[in-house]
């Protein structure tokens, strides 16, 4: 999984780099159209187009029947029964293409989320870095018995406060602020173990990783923006509270994912005739 994520990360960084300086609505729209087309193609290739057309015809026929025999109650009930019987069949026919699309979509959305779901750190704007230690494991302590966890921040990124150790949450946190834009790498040390975490202060649409997660498969699937934390590390996860971002879709400020769904559906319906796909 980690290798796949690493490859996908590099691929998406490369593909999306031409859009980095543009408002996020531009790449989100472009991707939505491409994805709309891709979905149609997958649908066409993986579904039984003939059967879909047949079931749709039958459903339309029953709808027509209801209109035609609107004074014949038994006929209406029969036609309605037919519709209700065929809808599950219609849905089951689209299940196969949807199943084909599921995994690629999850991987795609997970990658895009970290390009368009968060804003970069504004210079001067404070942000919390929170590292959680694995439960159960013994705590790294110094000679005086205090928690031995340290953070070193590169030039340009200032540690304003912390570490603050909260035993109840097994969490150590710091408050940081970028002094100037840049892509930074923080280093956390717990005893002799160390771990890095990226921090991006930029107006551009670059990949930002709000969480570096552990090795659990689901976590890796959902948070692919950074390599998972090695299993030997005392850290469970490290969070950097990037503010969330919105895209501006003709004055409608919304989460990029909503814009993506709307735009890709619009694209798919607009292009299905041209591509000869039965939905």
């Amino acid at each position: 999984m980690a290798t796949l994520n690493s490859l996908l990360r590099q691929l998406f960084d490369l593909l999306l780099s031409p859009f980095a300086g543009l408002p996020s609505v531009v790449p989100v729209t472009a991707i939505s159209v491409v994805v709309g087309v891709a979905m149609l193609w997958v649908y066409k290739k993986t579904s039984n187009q003939q059967k879909i057309e047949d079931v749709k015809q039958q459903i339309f026929a029953s709808v027509f029947e209801i209109r035609l025999f609107n004074d014949n109650l038994p006929a209406i009930f029969r036609a309605q029964g037919d519709i209700f019987r065929r809808i599950p069949r219609y849905l089951s026919l689209s299940f196969v293409p949807l199943a084909w699309m599921l995994l690629p979509m999850v991987l795609l959305i997970a990658q895009l989320q970290f390009h368009y779901g968060y804003q970069g750190l504004q210079p001067g704007q404070p942000v919390l870095l929170k590292a959680t230690l694995k439960p159960g494991a013994s705590l790294p302590q110094d000679a005086a018995g205090a928690l031995d966890v340290a953070l070193s921040a590169p030039e340009g990124l200032k540690v304003e406060a912390g570490p603050v150790w909260v035993p109840a949450l097994r969490e150590v946190s710091w408050r940081l602020a970028a002094e100037r834009p840049g892509s930074y790498q923080l280093t956390l040390k717990a005893g002799s173990e160390s771990l890095t975490k990226t921090a991006v202060s930029s107006e551009k649409n670059l990949r930002r990783s709000p969480i570096r997660v552990g090795g659990a498969l689901l976590d890796q699937l959902l948070y692919p923006a950074e390599d998972p934390i090695p299993t030997t590390s005392p850290f469970a996860e490290v969070k950097l509270d990037y503010p969330e971002a919105e895209v501006n879709l003709l004055g409608w400020h919304t989460h990029w994912l909503i814009a993506f769904f709307v735009l890709s559906l619009v694209a798919a319906f607009a292009l299905k005739g041209w591509m000869g796909v039965e939905l």
Binding site: P126, A146, A161, P163, V164, W165, V166, P167, A168
Partner: protein, 665 residues
């Protein structure tokens, strides 16, 4: 609005358009904006003292004010009777004295009920509700009304097509709605509806127990497992139907403080907001979102200050301010002007007089902490002035600062070794605080001079001066000791106020507010006993005795003037609201805290030992304000109440001000 900030390239076209619009408006006989307007910038510095300013100028410490004085003029500006900020600024705003605008004191009373209230605004009570289950939804009331009467001078300017921006004018809450842009200042409450209520969380039990703390609440908390869980309290929930015999429930928002077991730092969690605070650090503004009823929320903002972690946890929370980005009640006109001011500064204090004098008085802030907090409150205001100057093109810009008043109240003692509570070791280090504050605002004025258009008239004004407040006079105790005020239980010599222990059936006069003395008049006061025919004689008798009153400590006269309202006020219309007599204390004397709230003390005179050590609620002749201008005024102004008319003239409006009411004789 014509003449609004435009890019230099487009300005000539904008001006042309404005001329056309103005011509069209003139043709239609309505008031459009004038294309070419004179320019007047007025900077209000509350409480800037005439004597101290002159002295610091002579020492060369206020170069920018000296520059203005050389180019134009510098004079004393006569203040209001009595010289209290809401009265004084109302004099300026309306061109009338209290007889006309109806603001006589910080505190007024309703004679029919004998309930005191804050003088400048009132909330209409809700009398009708729609009830569902435990909730009640108000059907009427709840509206806040500005009680200042008269026409604000910017309304006349607006009628003549002059651009107007009025920032934090006191006694203008809710905003009048007559300026192009205005935001309210003094008189603006916090979310609790008070002048400001801080909340303080401490693990040190009993430290504040039994002490009367005003303007704040102390919550004792306990640390368990390196955690403190408590709540921030809001006002009572107006949507919860009252239950007979139970105290109305207050809104509360829980928060958790996690203490680092080894370091003096905490993590603060409030709803979905997380902050780290090291000892001595201030948080930014956090949103406090109270849930009132399904779909109904009440939102404010507050900052947290981690005063100390060990040995005792001490966490201060500012009064909950109305959020300038989404105020729970209108504080600006147009409504989004409050948010516009946040453009460069982010959120800021919206409540009146944000310097937390109460926390210093209660001993929760040290003087250093108070001064730091005052700076936090003032810095955004300075940036906002810069923003307003960048956007300024023409017409009127009024901008107010209250820091010069609030800090002077708290730090005056440091310049006054004769003060009864002066302690050289403690106060000595702060001796230069007020002069340095004057210098700071002199630098602000330097910025104004640099960035104002060269043909603009820049005026700098204050509403009153300052004096030491060494001795307090309890006028109610004096009335009692001289047989004018009777008590129900004579053994209870001291009361905390609100007419407690007053025997109205035998009381002829009472004091309320910082300078007011009222006759307990039959037919006017709820339990009045003095017939109208005896009122004047009684007022004369009281005046004569008060003028002879000497301080038991040094034998000096404590009162220099006593003004009957019918003589001292020229304007009419709202004379009946005011006190019958306005007491003008001699320099260094003031009404005691208890007397101001209609309370009694065992003795008439007492030392003022509070941190609040400078004041101005004395005889108005002893505490004049200042007026500076970068050029001489076409129509000179001797006192606050003349100044607006002079400003109108400078802005090309020749009409008499205050405007005469059409029905007036």
């Amino acid at each position: 609005m014509a003449g609004a900030p435009g890019k230099p390239r487009g300005r000539s076209r904008l001006a042309l358009a404005a001329v056309l619009v103005a011509a069209l408006a003139a043709a239609l006989g309505c008031h459009g904006k004038k294309a070419q307007q004179p320019k007047v910038i007025v900077i209000g510095l509350d409480g800037l003292d005439f004597t101290l300013t002159g002295q610091l100028m002579a020492e060369g410490k206020l170069p920018n004010l000296s520059k203005i004085a050389q180019r134009g003029f510098f004079q004393a500006l006569g203040t209001a009777v009595p010289p209290q900020s809401p009265v004084a600024w109302s004099n300026f705003i309306t061109g009338m004295d209290a007889g006309g605008h109806g603001i006589y004191d910080f505190i007024h009373r309703d004679a029919k009920t004998m309930v005191p209230y804050l003088s400048t605004s009132r909330v209409d009570e809700t009398t009708r509700f729609f009830r569902i289950g435990k909730y009640q939804f108000p059907l009427n009331g709840g509206k806040t009304r500005l009680l200042r009467q008269g026409t604000p001078f910017w309304e006349v300017l607006a009628q003549h097509g002059i651009d107007t921006a009025v920032v934090r004018m006191p006694a203008n809450f809710p905003p009048s709605g007559k300026a192009d842009k205005e935001i309210s200042g003094m008189g603006t409450p916090d979310l609790l509806g008070t002048p400001g209520t801080f909340q303080f969380y401490t693990t040190e039990l009993f430290k504040y127990y039994g002490k009367e703390i005003t303007g704040g609440e102390v919550h004792e908390v306990v640390v368990e497992n390196d955690q403190v869980q408590d709540k921030i309290y809001g006002p009572t929930n107006p949507y919860l139907a009252p239950i007979e015999g139970q105290k109305p429930e207050r809104l509360a928002e829980p928060f958790t403080v996690y203490l680092d077991p080894h370091r003096d730092a905490v993590k603060l969690v409030l709803a979905d907001q997380e902050r780290l605070l090291e000892k001595g650090e201030w948080s930014d503004w956090l949103t406090i979102d109270f849930k009132l009823a399904p779909t109904q929320h009440l939102t404010g903002i507050a900052r947290f200050y981690l005063k100390q972690v060990r040995p005792e946890l001490e966490l201060y929370v500012t009064p909950i301010n109305l959020d300038p980005l989404a105020p729970a009640q209108p504080i600006s006109h147009p409504e989004d002007f409050a948010a516009e001011l946040a453009e460069r500064t982010g959120r800021y204090y919206t409540k009146e007089m944000p310097e937390d004098t109460k926390a210093l008085n209660a001993g929760i802030f040290t003087p250093e902490e108070f001064l730091h907090q005052a700076e936090l409150a003032t810095e955004p205001q300075i940036v906002q002035l810069q923003q307003m100057l960048d956007d300024y093109r023409q017409g009127l810009l009024f901008f107010y600062f209250g820091d010069t008043d609030q800090v002077a109240h708290m730090m005056w003692r440091a310049m006054d070794p004769a003060h009864p509570a002066y302690n050289a070791a403690q106060d000595g280090p702060f001796a230069e605080v007020i002069p340095k504050l004057y210098q700071k605002f002199d630098r602000v004025l330097g910025y104004v001079l640099e960035h104002a258009p060269p043909d603009a008239l820049v005026l700098v004004m204050s509403d009153h001066g300052f004096a030491p407040f060494r001795r307090a006079v309890n006028l109610n105790s004096w009335l009692r000791d001289n047989g004018y005020l009777a008590t129900l239980d004579p053994t209870r010599r001291a009361t905390s106020g609100f007419f407690d222990n007053f025997n109205w059936a035998k009381t002829k006069a009472y004091a309320l507010g910082l300078n007011g003395l009222y006759i307990n008049l039959a037919g006017r006061e709820k339990d009045g006993i003095v017939p109208a025919s005896e009122r004047e004689a009684l007022m004369k008798e009281l005046s004569a005795k008060l003028l002879a009153l000497t301080d038991t400590k040094n034998g000096e006269r404590a009162i220099t003037k006593v003004y009957p309202r019918e003589e001292v006020y020229q304007d009419r219309g709202h004379l009946e609201i005011g006190p019958d007599l306005v007491v003008g204390f001699a320099r260094t004397w003031r009404t005691s805290n208890e007397s101001a709230l209609a309370g009694l003390a065992a003795e008439v005179f007492s030392d003022n030992t509070a941190a609040w050590s400078g004041d101005h609620c004395m005889d108005h002749e002893t505490v004049p304000g200042v007026l500076f201008g970068t050029r001489k005024l076409a129509r000179p102004a001797a006192s606050l109440k003349d100044l607006a008319a002079s400003i109108l003239v400078e802005l090309g409006v020749q009409e008499p001000f205050p405007p005469r009411a059409p029905s007036a004789p």
